[in-house]
């Protein structure tokens, strides 16, 4: 079953076309990678799904429902969580407050506590630093916090925007280890990455975005070997 289905989506910023007729789908349990150069429209796509940006035309369906008829907070309530580019932790709030705000759309307190405990088990560093202001965390810790915060809303679909951005290789390895574990636990993901190799190695399928259009799609392993992808993105 398709968790997410996008048909013919176009977005423009004034006169600039950011996305042109993009279609893609994500099936339950998949990691789908969206790769492409800087400015290809990857983040725009995720932001459109999260209802931060209004598209010009096209259709987005999540679990069969029309996303473009929903408010941003409804999308989260229905089970789509977005880990934004640059992590965007709430620097002036504590780690724990950040996590609890991740569960803003949830109201069952015992379940929220349970979920918090689960995130602390998954990310022991966050437990150690839970009273610290999020702004004092290292980049890798902030990325973990951003992911854990998104998981606090108990998402069915996780949108990950550049989780490796600006992190040391060893931290990136940790983050992708976590991404694989989450996927093994059943979390479906749409993963945006500039690091194409890493993304495609971890994804079941991938799409290549160039200047706002999908120019290529296929199995992750096939795309890694594709000559055009190798030339353009894997050097």
């Amino acid at each position: 079953m398709n968790v997410l289905e996008i048909n013919n989506l176009s977005v423009s910023y004034g006169a600039v076309q950011a996305l042109i007729g993009v279609s893609l789908y994500v099936q339950r349990g998949e990691i789908v990678a969206l790769i492409g150069a800087n400015g290809a429209g990857k983040s725009t796509l995720l932001r459109t799904i999260s209802r931060l940006i209004k598209p010009k035309s096209g259709e987005i369906r999540y679990m069969g429902e029309d996303v473009l008829a929903m408010r941003a907070d409804t999308v989260v309530r229905k089970g789509v969580a977005h880990v934004p580019e640059g992590r965007r932790v709430l620097a002036r709030l504590s780690v724990e407050d950040n996590l609890l705000l991740g569960a803003y759309t949830r109201s069952n307190r015992p379940k929220i506590r349970e979920n918090l405990e689960r995130q602390y088990r998954r990310f022991p560093r966050l437990r150690e630093r839970r009273t610290q202001l999020a702004g004092t965390l290292s980049g890798g810790e902030q990325q973990m916090l951003a992911i854990a915060r998104a998981l606090m809303s108990e998402p069915q679909l996780l949108l990950l925007d550049e989780p490796s951005l600006g992190l040391a290789p060893i931290i990136v390895r940790d983050i992708f280890q976590i991404i694989r574990e989450l996927n093994a636990d059943g979390v479906t993901m749409l993963l945006v990455e500039q690091n194409a190799q890493l993304a495609l190695q971890n994804a079941q399928r991938g799409y290549v975005l160039e200047a706002g259009s999908v120019i290529l799609d296929g199995k992750g392993s096939d795309l890694v070997d594709d000559a055009r992808v190798r030339k353009a993105y894997l050097g």
């Binding site: 907070d73 309530r77 709030l93």
Partner: protein
């Protein structure tokens, strides 16, 4: 200044400062969410005072559309204050609807919103004048209505005399401050407000309905503004439709002094200016506004971000 007078003045300063603080928090809440000074806040303060007057069941004067009118019922002063605050909160929400939201939805420059809020302030002042005239109003004496003594004496032979009204004002301000602090720091909505203040995009990604929180912010801001209006009206009187304008300027001095957008800064700024004014020697009391703004001027020269303000970080 002899010791007794000093103590009395300090207490006056705390009472006035407490009102400055809760009034200024109304500015601070809106500023921290929208980055805009709500110039209509002083008018909401004025309205709060008039609403309380009406809820007391008191009769309006001889001018204006509502001349000689009064509500068919009256409630005791504490309840009237509460209702006055709630009504001011509702007005504040309406102001957000007409003067803030339309511009925000069109992505207008914050400077334009500032001007439209100023316009609303002028309109409210004129409507008040049209309805109830330009004369001053005083609340019926609490001494009579609640049966409390007009002042309290502390000490034996040369007692320190403190007006009961000052005690009431100070206590109410402190209660409002404590409730507000609790609301902001320990409730889910309060945390969400902090999140919106820091980063609206992230807040929306977390499922926070930012428009609804902005409404909550304006309501709370109007509520505390209205209560402040009532307290000042109780201390002196409602001096007329322009009642809140001078106070509004003072409130701006308070938040700038404490640091724009800082909640503890607004409280500290309020107390500093309140105390500063109260300690002005009696023969110079006509200059106390000048002294308040001079304090502000000097602090800003030394510390441009205010006492507790953060350095402004350019948001992306």
């Amino acid at each position: 200044m002899d010791f007794n007078v000093l103590i009395q003045n300090v207490f006056n300063g705390l009472a006035v400062g407490g009102v400055y603080a809760i009034f200024a928090l109304g500015y601070t809440l809106v500023f921290s969410i929208l980055g805009i000074i709500n110039f209509a806040h002083g008018a909401v303060f004025t309205l709060g005072a008039y609403f309380t007057y009406a809820f007391l069941g008191a009769r309006f004067g001889f001018n204006g559309l509502l001349a000689n009118q009064q509500l068919p019922f009256g409630v005791p002063f504490p309840l009237a204050t509460l209702f006055g605050g709630l009504a001011a909160g509702v007005i504040s929400v309406l102001i957000e609807r007409v003067a803030f939201r339309p511009l925000r939805n069109r992505g207008a420059d914050p400077l334009l919103t500032l001007v439209s809020s100023l316009g609303v302030a002028v309109a409210i002042v004129n409507v008040i004048q049209y309805l109830v005239g330009a004369e001053a109003y005083s609340y019926p004496s609490l001494t009579i209505s609640l049966g409390i003594p007009p002042s309290v004496m502390l000490g034996g032979e040369r007692p320190i005399v403190i007006r009961t009204v000052q005690i009431i004002i100070f206590s109410v301000s402190m209660v409002v401050l404590v409730l507000l602090t609790y609301f902001i720091n320990y409730t889910k909505v309060g945390k969400a407000l902090q999140a919106v203040a820091e980063d609206q995009i992230t807040s929306r990604l977390l499922g926070i309905n930012t428009d609804r929180l902005i409404v909550v912010t304006f309501f709370v801001s109007g509520f505390v503004g209205g209560i402040a209006g009532t307290l000042v009206g109780l201390s002196v009187s409602i001096t007329g439709p322009y009642f809140g304008i001078a106070f509004g300027l003072k409130g701006l001095a308070v938040i700038v002094l404490g640091g724009l957008g800082s909640v503890p800064g607004a409280v500290l700024g309020g107390l500093v200016i309140g105390l500063g004014e109260a300690l002005v020697p009696a023969q110079y009391v006509g200059y106390k506004d000048a002294i308040a703004f001079a304090v502000l001027f000097i602090v800003l020269l030394v510390r441009p971000r205010g006492i507790l303000g953060r350095t402004l970080v350019q948001k992306v």
